[in-house]
Structure formats: C-alpha cells, structure tokens
C-alpha cells in the first residue's frame, strides 16, 4: 500500500520510489537508515541515487545510531497548512547525525528534518529548542507499517556550536 494519511496529508510512497521507499520501509520497522556508497563507502544524508563524491550508482541502506545534534531549526508561529494550525508554535529541526560529521569536508554532515517532540509525540516546548542540543530519533506511528521519524531531546551535554533564540513569553 503506497499511500498513508498523516494530519490530512496523503503521503505517497510507491514501490518504484527508489529514493524514499526503503527509508520509510525501515522507519516502519523502527530503524533509521541512510544510503551508503558501495564503492567509496561514504554515507549520504539525502537518499539520492548517486554518490555525490564518486558518482557511483551502487548503494545499500545502512542503519545509523539515530543520535545527533540540532544543526539548525525553525519555529513555526504561523503555518499555511490548515491541519497543522492547532500545533503552533512548533519546532522543525535539522538534525546532524553523529555518523560522518565533518567528513569528507569539514562542513559536511548527514542532515535530516523532523519535528522536535516530547515523550508523547506532542510538540516540544519552544524554549527547549536550540542549536547544539542532543537528540535521538523517535518513530511516530501513523498507520500500520508506517512510522514517521521524529526527534526527542536526550540527556546529554550540548555539542559543538550552541545557540537559541529568545522565545516569546506566554
């Protein structure tokens, strides 16, 4: 079944989606995976068909630890998606995975988007989001066999560059 419904949005993941089907198949089993180049061995954060470093089109899925650090973020105060209105303000985070940080270039990393959520998959409080905070993947059940990778704060010291904006009071 290639279609799933989440917050009124139809997510279409057909069998011939060679980029994202394997990613969501693994997520449905509670595993976070990235693509690994079979030839040069480098991982890539975006599950594309070719290796950005060696052009090889031979790849395999590789499970990663699911831990990382918030690299950048945005807090949505106003959303244009009607079915997300009751969630505002909510944080969307760009998480840099622990694997392959700063390789092969010092600015490179495996970076994945998700919401910052609490133990119940409700949106985390705005004052708790910040660059440098440590997070771990959490798989939010959507439909039978389909889970959405989300991110939760973990009790580890901030890592690298840290910063957060001043959240409005109230």
């Amino acid at each position: 079944m290639p279609n799933y419904n989440y917050r009124g949005i139809t997510l279409s993941v057909p069998d011939n989606d060679s980029e994202y089907k394997g990613y969501f198949d693994a997520a449905g089993e509670g595993r976070l995976v990235v693509k690994k180049c079979v030839d040069c061995g480098l991982l890539r954060g975006e599950p594309g068909p070719g290796c950005p470093w060696c052009t090889s089109i031979n790849w395999e899925w590789q499970q990663v630890s699911g831990k990382g650090t918030i690299y950048s973020y945005q807090v949505v105060a106003h959303t244009v998606i009607p079915s997300f209105r009751d969630l505002t303000p909510f944080a969307i985070v760009l998480v840099e995975l622990d694997e392959q940080r700063g390789h092969p270039d010092e600015h490179d990393g495996l970076r994945i988007t998700g919401n910052l959520v609490d133990a119940n998959f409700d949106m985390e409080k705005e004052e708790n989001v910040g660059i440098g905070k440590r997070v771990e993947v959490a798989f939010q059940p959507v439909e039978e066999g389909f889970m959405l990778p989300q991110w939760r704060l973990i009790d580890e010291p901030d890592q690298g560059f840290t910063w957060s904006h001043e959240a409005p009071q109230g």
Partner: protein, 409 residues
C-alpha cells in the same frame, strides 16, 4: 569565458500591469497587457518582436496563446519552469537566442495571479494535496512555504553572526521609503523598525509578517535586442554589461547537507558576473537585491561581496541602501512593498533608473525632470545612476545576476 557579449545587447522596453490582490482576470489577459506596454515603451510593433520567453510554476499562460492576443509570430519561444532568479537568467538566454540567429527581438514575460489564484506558499487546498518524492522529508513535518524552505540557512546565520530582527527590519524600512514614492506600489506607506517588530511572527527567529514579500497579481515584461537594433528605438538603450545564472551551490536542492550552510549562490555567481561586466563593486550606483524576505537581501549582500560575511547587518543599517545613500537598493520598493513579481520588477526599476525617467511623483518624471526631493510622496530617481546590479534569488542554492549600464564601457 568565451564570447563575452558586453554592451552588444540591450533592454529596450519594459512594462507591467497594475500590482493588485484581485486582478479579476486571467494570466493570459495580464500577460498580453504587460507585453503590449513593453512594446509601446520600446516603440516596437508586434511584427518586430519575433522572440518570446517566459517562466512559470504551472501558474501562467504559454507564449503560444499570448502571441495570438498581440499578433506576434515568434521565430523562437520557450516557456521555462522557473521562479526567483529566472529573470536575469532569461535575459542571458535571450542574448543567446539572438546570437545564435534564432530571432532578433525577445519579449521576456512573467504573469501570475500570485495572490488571488495560485499562491507561492502552497496554501489552502494545495497544502493538503498528495505528496511524494523529496517532499516526504519535509511536508509531514509542516515544512512547506518559501520562508520555511530557506530558513535553516538564516537561523544558523543569525546564530553565527549575531544578527537581530531589528537589523532585518531596516531593510523593510528602506524599501518602504522607496515605495512611498512609487505610485504603482501595492504597499505605499512608510514603516518603522517597530512596525516590523510588532507585526506577527511567521517563522522564528527569521521572519515577522513584514519581513515577508507581498503576494501579488501581476504581469511584467522586458524586451531584449541587439545594440544595433536598439539604436532607432524610443529610449536610450540600457546596455547589458554582464549576466550570469542560474548558478548554484554544491548540493542544489540538498545544499544543507554541505556547507557552509550560511553561504548562498551569490558566492559563486558574483565573481563571474563582475568579471564579465568589467566593473568593480564601487562602480555600481544602484542595486536590485531579491527581497522575498528581508533575510534573502542580507545573505546576498554578503555573498556578492558588498560587505564581509557576517557584516550584512551593518551594511543594511548603515544608510547605504536607502534612497539618498551611497548605493540604494530596490528603488521601486521591491517585493516587500511594490509587489511580488518573481524578480522582474527589480530589473524593470533599474532600467527606468538608468534611463533617468523613473515614474515617481515628480510632474516632469517622464521627461527626466526630477526634483531629487526624496521625502514621502516625492522623487525616487537616483541622480546620474550609470551602473546597476541585480541579484536574483531562487533558493539559498540558486541565484542569477545582471549588470546593466547606460553608457558603453
């Protein structure tokens, strides 16, 4: 770079429709009017226009329809998928088509009911449309609109360089002052830093409502031909000194996987366009820097080298970009105040500025008789502007640039 066409091609006509939020008509009707206005501006008849170029996001009308409405028969046309930064790039493609002998005179147009029909952010019904492919990694998390798509770049920039919301607001203030002297502008009133700060938040920490451009119904057109052909047309030709783009950052759509994330396409486009045009930063009198949001302006000023990386906040608050300043930016009010046109209006404005006949409130504006009194409701013509530079923004990863001048190098 082989075959530098510096000064061999010109923009000879510009035109637009009204900027509104309820055009009450089709993109076909608006496109026809904008092209007609540009032809009249140039002094060209339909049989003298034999090229058409447009860009769209599935929200416009093809050249092959509008040609009928104006009696144009193109020897060359192309309707490209595009968006911000396409304007400058299509000026370059028009030069290429003419250089290749495919046509002689090209009308470039953009037509969009960007407020009343198809809005850029994908609001309403489009927000709930089925999604697949790369959107699967963003949309389920509520990441959809343009201000969001670019904001990872600027949150990180604010963090690394200590930018405040007040710094961004200075850009809106400058552009609103310019718009107050533009009868065409959708938002003509001058705003203050406090007005921007007190408008509601859209995305923290990067944008209040007044940091965002104005979704607009409009069509726009610029006409490109050779300097030889330009000689017997109505206006002083505005020479194309150099054009580049759409150029990209490494990674393209997935640029945030590489770095530095705060770097934008101008870092790559800038040196090439300055080299082609044979000008230096200090030679440029006016700029047109794509203001989808106030932060796109600051990012581009830095990466095109108007200031050092991280000093954009000082550049935009220094007065340099204001009318009466050293190098004013977006003199029509740009996307933030005149109207959102996907980049076209900033090129149109610079053409009019270089002609010296900007359509402000001066009674003799059309004849180039300006007061240079920049108070509200007055003049917006920059005195003796000779060189302009446009910096088009598509995404943090995509940009184009165009340098024009009113004298030969």
């Amino acid at each position: 770079m082989a075959g530098n066409p510096r000064d061999k091609y010109c923009i000879v006509g510009v035109g637009e429709t009204e900027y509104s939020r309820a055009s009450g008509r089709t993109t076909r009707a608006m496109g026809a009017e904008a092209i007609r206005n540009a032809m009249n501006d140039a002094g060209l008849s339909p049989d003298q226009v034999d090229g058409m170029l447009s860009y769209h996001g599935g929200d416009s009308t093809p050249s092959t329809s509008i040609q009928y409405d104006l009696g144009i028969r193109p020897n060359f046309y192309m309707d490209c998928s595009g968006g911000g930064s396409s304007t400058e790039a299509l000026v370059g493609l028009a030069i290429g088509a003419i250089e290749a002998g495919m046509c002689d005179v090209v009308a470039i147009f953009r037509s969009m009911n960007g407020y009343s029909n198809i809005r850029i952010g994908g609001t309403g019904a489009r927000a709930s449309a089925p999604i697949g492919g790369m959107d699967l990694m963003k949309r389920p998390y509520g990441l959809i609109s343009a201000v969001q798509q670019f904001s990872y770049t600027f949150t990180r920039h604010m963090a690394e360089y200590g930018v405040k919301s007040e710094d961004l607001a200075a850009i809106k203030v400058a552009h609103s002052n310019h718009a107050s002297n533009n009868p065409k502008a959708l938002m003509k009133h001058r705003v203050t830093v406090d007005d921007v700060m007190n408008s509601r938040w859209i995305i923290r920490p990067v944008a209040h409502l007044l940091d965002c451009c104005l979704e607009t119904d409009n069509a726009t057109c610029v006409i490109v031909t050779s300097a030889d052909r330009a000689r017997d047309l109505k206006h002083k030709p505005i020479y194309i000194k150099g054009v580049q783009g759409r150029g990209t950052k490494p990674g393209g759509d997935f640029h945030y996987q590489h770095g530095p994330i705060t770097r934008v396409a101008g870092h790559y486009v800038g040196p090439r366009v300055f080299d082609l045009a044979g000008v230096k930063h200090e030679d440029v009198d006016i700029t047109g820097c794509y203001d989808a949001f106030t932060y796109t302006v600051m990012l581009q000023f830095e990466d095109y080298g108007w200031c050092k990386k991280g000093e954009g906040k000082d550049y935009v608050t220094s007065g340099i970009i204001n009318l009466g300043g050293k190098r004013p930016n977006n003199l029509s009010g740009g996307h933030l105040c005149e109207g959102y046109t996907h980049g076209m209006n900033m090129v149109i404005e610079n053409v009019r500025q270089l002609r010296g006949t900007v359509d402000d409130y001066c009674p003799g504006a059309a004849e180039g008789d300006h007061t240079y009194d920049y108070s509200e409701g007055g003049c917006r013509q920059v005195q003796d502007a000779k060189i302009s530079m446009n910096m088009g923004w598509g995404t943090p990863a995509v940009g184009s640039s165009l340098i024009m001048g009113n004298v030969l190098s």
